[in-house]
């Protein structure tokens, strides 16, 4: 029983080691590396706007996230 428990602990520590090995620390004064536009959640805002424009043109409405509307084109 005890041997099995030790094995589980060893497996947990090994898994933790593997998981943390995948993490790269960023020093506080190097956080500019996280600030470029391509690191944003919306990496390509222009592409998104273009897609929305095409969607509006084809569907005759506006995306739901922008404003309310019934899809009749009159709002």
């Amino acid at each position: 029983m005890r041997r099995r428990r030790n094995g589980l602990v060893a497996a947990f520590v090994a898994a933790l080691s593997f998981a943390t090995a995948a993490c790269a620390g960023v020093e506080p004064w190097r956080r500019s590396r996280l600030a470029p536009p391509h690191m944003a959640l919306d990496a390509c805002p222009e592409n998104r706007r273009l897609r929305e424009h095409v969607y509006e043109s084809r569907e005759g409405t506006v995306p739901a996230e922008r404003r309310g509307g019934g899809g009749c084109g009159c709002t």
Partner: protein, 172 residues
């Protein structure tokens, strides 16, 4: 589970152990030139009260701190106090553009390799360290809070009083 706890505690203790705290000697730092200002070492300021402020161009609170740092330099600069702004940008051009925009009136230096903040154990931006005339860190500030300006001024005045000693002939 206890083993995992020990590992996490050890990592936390190791990172905390490297941070310079009030009462500890300021680490020796050799800083390179910034713009027209020549390089400087922290020990050059022995005998003066020094506020070391670490900043970078991408750090918005750093910009908000500059007016206060200008005021401190103006108000105490002739009494044995100095502000030293240490730019940590990897690209010196970005730091120079930032400085041109926000017009610091205190001395600037650069440390693009990050050796000095590493020695201080800096963990957030901006951070500032108030160092007394003997080279001992007396106060550490992480981030910039405008409400702390008054307390900072009082600390500077106390440290300047230590340097200058009691005023001879002072009356109550």
């Amino acid at each position: 589970m206890r083993a995992a706890g020990l590992v996490i505690s050890a990592v936390a203790a190791a990172s905390a152990a490297t941070a310079v705290e009030p009462g500890q000697a300021a680490p020796a730092c050799s800083l390179s030139a910034f713009g027209d200002a020549r390089g400087v070492e922290l020990r050059d300021y022995r005998g003066s009260v020094l506020l070391v402020d670490f900043w970078a161009s991408w750090c918005a609170p750093c910009a908000r701190a500059f007016p206060l740092l200008n005021e401190l330099e103006r108000d105490f600069g002739r009494r044995g106090f100095a502000v030293l702004g240490v730019n940590l940008d990897e690209d010196p051009a970005q730091g120079a553009a930032f400085a041109a925009r926000y017009s610091p009136r205190f001395r600037l230096a650069a440390d693009p390799e990050g050796d000095c903040p590493r020695a201080f154990g800096l963990w957030t931006m901006p951070s500032s360290y108030l160092i007394d005339s003997r080279g001992v860190v007396r106060a550490v500030r992480q981030g910039f809070l405008p409400g702390e300006a008054r307390a900072l001024r009082e600390q500077i005045q106390e440290l300047l009083a230590e340097v200058q000693g009691p005023q001879v002939g002072a009356t109550r």
